[in-house]
Amino acid sequence: MGLFGASQGHISHHPERRPQFDQPLTWENFAAIFQECADFSEKELTPQGWGHPIQIGWLDGMVRSERLNDYVLRPLAAWPLPQGERPAQAILEGGVWNQNAQRQETLDEVVEAVLDGSCAIFLLDGVITCSVATEEKRSVTEPENESQIKGAKDGFVESVRTNTSLLRRRMRTPELQIQRFVIGRRTRTPVELLWVKGIAEERLIRRIADKLEDIDEDALLTTGALEEYLTDPKATAFPRVLFTERPDRVCQGLLDGRAAILVDGIPLGCLLPGDVSQFMKAPQDKSYHWAVSSLLLLLRYLCLLLTLLLPGFYISVAQFHFELIPTKLAMSIIASKQDVPFPTAFEVMGLLAAFEILQEAGLRLPKTIGQTVSIIGGLVVGQAAVDAKIVSPVVVIVVAVAGIAGFTMPNQDFSNALRVWRFLLAVLASLLGIFGLMAGTAFLVAHLASLEDFGVPYLTPFAPRERSSLESHPILRKPMPEVKLRPTELHPANRRKRT
């Protein structure tokens, strides 16, 4: 029995079978593969003057009917095969009006193309696939979780090609490189690795590409599946890959020398390697005046300390070091806690747990009901708990301040990690007081300092390998014209950003 349940023992390596379908490339074998698929459609067609039928197969819903009819079936039906021509070759040379008509040699290739939205045309001398995929998808909308007042309003969608186009529109340079991978034995998900040639370090790109190639999964449906393959998931609760809905943020990352990954079906861009300062920056930071942004950044760092340490600090002073509290505050706390039957640690952790439950409940429910739950849970039940002397008002304030401070974190993954550590620090504080809290904090700092991805330390701006590499301030935002170089830690091929 381990931390994650019963141990599965040693599982032998099970390489993916390639080719998946090793039968000869015939219509019968092809149709047999899709025999149980209700959305598989086939059509036998005898073009005029050909003298023999041809078979066409496709998957309904994956293709656009108009394209199939207008640019494949109609030209084929009306096009007389020139005397002596081999049909497959003739089709490739203009028999159908399709830019992606390709001759396929194996059954695997044909199946993959059909699954990707092509139709397969089985001819006497070969098989041609024509891409007639539907482009039905969600239109580009404003990012829900990263909206900003001064800035672009478009966000990533589920189509990887649309997403690359959003990036291309911002970076009109051929130096923007895109490498395609297909990940998932069953899902065959297109994944694209992007970087800017001449800025990103080549070794970094190679290492990421190697990791992507090594992913051998049944499916790639969530961001976690990608992140946990690229970094060591057991090492920390803190995010090490920045996921963003905003194309402009990805562009900024690419221009800093980072790499981006786009996954088909996931409306997020992923920037790596990540460091702690990235998770504290909001998209609008560069839209506001540097003084305002710096102030907001400072406020965010203050909130980070509050959300992480406040519950633990309160437990420490209320249980061990009440001489640290100003006298009037101590008296006020004593008066408010007079009839509460629970020890402070139990009270704080109970309320922290209740806060987490409320938050989860609010997220899972539809928006309107979620708000009601928050109001009833937070206000009504909270007030009732205070009136019933189950919790003291001070603890409600402490937990609420810690919780709300956590909401100021621009990155949800980072905020979640802080939630985990908040509990741990509260437990340590309840055992050892301020000493426990400080020991836990020191451990946390040491833990973060030990993290490194693709050669970039996680605490990069605060603990750079070389002090001279610190071009911009770790917390405050310098005026942009003064930041002339890219971060050294990313080892960019070209450090200069602006003249």
Binding site: G2, L3, F4, T327, A330, A335, Q338, S430
Partner: protein
């Protein structure tokens, strides 16, 4: 990490969580005292005991009853013991919670004990980790500290409230209350002399024994200062001497000086600034013969009645002179008393050494012989202003406005 290790880690975390939530005490872990179990002691009265050497009386604040806004009289605990530590330990046993001295605001010492053991008390506070050096020190004249605590305790007040009000009123100029254990120890360290504020108890005319303790039985007032010699209370200063002492130690900001002009007009001047400097005179042998204390003071004309105009030059001159004279009288009275008692509670020696470092060796060596014989002279240069005169600022302001070219051009 093996499965066994992971299991152990989970058990360890669960154990830690259990310990935290249950507030379990262990020899390994620090002792947990939840804030709800704590009785905050705000005032500690120390008196000479009847059976034992000391009598300790500890008092808290008014005890608020939840959020109802009502309160109970403060908790008062009394204990006799041979030592303060023993007394504190005894107080601990009397209470149903943990008696916490870390928030001690005031220490009230009965006159009898202060005359005998003040230095030891200060020494205890300096050494004990739970006491605060910033606690204020008071001596009760003609009564015990316990009487002060008990007499001030009612449903609506505790002694600490009254003493806090007194110390805040005296420090309106922004200065901190100067008579804390820290200052007391600093003074006693220098030459065993110093100053402490004196409280007196009077019967409260509004006190009604049947009135369910709504009003305190005694009124507590600050009546001046007492001086210490050889580490213990020596005697009380007269009100004039107290004012002089406060003036000479730069502690009497914003105090009121009442004068009478030649024509009998009463004038109220608020002292807003006072600075003193020393001018020693040494003879050929390097012996100190005279010490002149110069005081530069500023007063704000607060009140004047009758036909006297505050802007009249002659009246102002009379005010300057009267103000200076009054301050000089106070300061001289204090200096004379200090010399008379042979107690350098104004710490002139310390200041003189800083002022004349070339003579520091001689001063240190001979101060005790010189001090009773030197001539202590006071010179005061007082100035009275009326900076908030309603006429003057407007006229000056109007003139400035018209002269400002940039403003008039715009």
């Amino acid at each position: 990490m093996t499965a066994r290790r992971k299991g152990l880690l989970v058990l360890l975390l669960a154990w830690a969580l259990f310990l935290g939530l249950s507030s379990w005490d262990s020899d390994v872990l620090p002792v947990t005292r939840d804030i709800t179990q704590v009785k905050l002691i705000r005032t500690l009265a120390l008196d000479k005991g009847e059976g034992a050497a000391l009598r300790l009386t500890a008092s808290g604040n008014l005890q608020k009853e939840g959020n109802s806004g009502q309160s109970k009289p403060p908790l008062v605990l009394t204990q006799e013991a041979m030592t303060i530590s023993g007394g504190c330990s005894g107080l601990q046993q009397q209470s149903d919670g943990f008696v916490e001295f870390g928030h001690l605001a005031e220490c009230v010492i009965g006159e009898e004990l202060a005359r005998e053991e003040l230095l030891q008390l200060a020494d205890f506070v300096a050494r004990d980790f739970s006491m605060r050096m910033e606690s204020k020190v008071f001596v009760v004249a003609g009564a015990t500290g316990e009487e002060a605590v008990q007499g001030a305790a009612s449903k609506s007040s505790a002694l600490t409230d009254r003493l806090t009000a007194i110390s805040q009123n005296r420090s309106m100029g922004g200065r901190k209350w100067p008579y804390t254990f820290r200052q007391l120890i600093s003074q006693l360290e220098d030459n065993g002399c110093g100053l402490v504020p004196v409280l007196t108890l009077t019967d409260n005319p509004d006190y009604d024994p049947e009135g369910k303790g709504e009003e305190p039985e005694k009124e507590i007032n600050l009546t001046g200062l007492a001086f210490l010699k050889e580490g213990n209370l020596a005697d009380f200063l007269t009100p004039e001497e107290s004012k002089g002492a406060a003036l000479l130690t730069n502690q009497d900001q914003l105090d009121m000086v009442e004068l009478t002009l030649e024509d009998g007009t009463p004038v109220g001047v608020q002292l807003v600034y006072a600075q003193r400097s020393l001018e020693p005179t040494f003879d050929e042998d390097g012996r100190l013969t005279q010490l002149t204390i110069r005081i530069k003071a500023k007063g704000e004309l607060s009140e004047v009645s009758g036909p006297v105009s505050p802007t009249d030059a002659q009246s102002l001159e009379q005010m300057h002179q009267g103000f200076s004279k009054q301050l000089r009288l106070w300061a001289q009275a204090t200096l004379d008393r200090s010399q008379q008692e042979g107690a350098d509670f104004l710490h002139l020696r310390r200041e003189l050494i800083c002022h004349s470092p070339l003579h520091s060796g001689q001063i240190q060596e001979n101060w005790d012989d010189w001090f009773p014989e030197i001539t202590l002279k006071t010179e005061v240069k007082g100035e009275v202003e009326r900076s908030y005169d309603v006429d003057r600022p407007i006229e000056e302001g109007a003139e400035t406005w018209s002269k400002d070219k940039s403003l008039s051009n715009s």
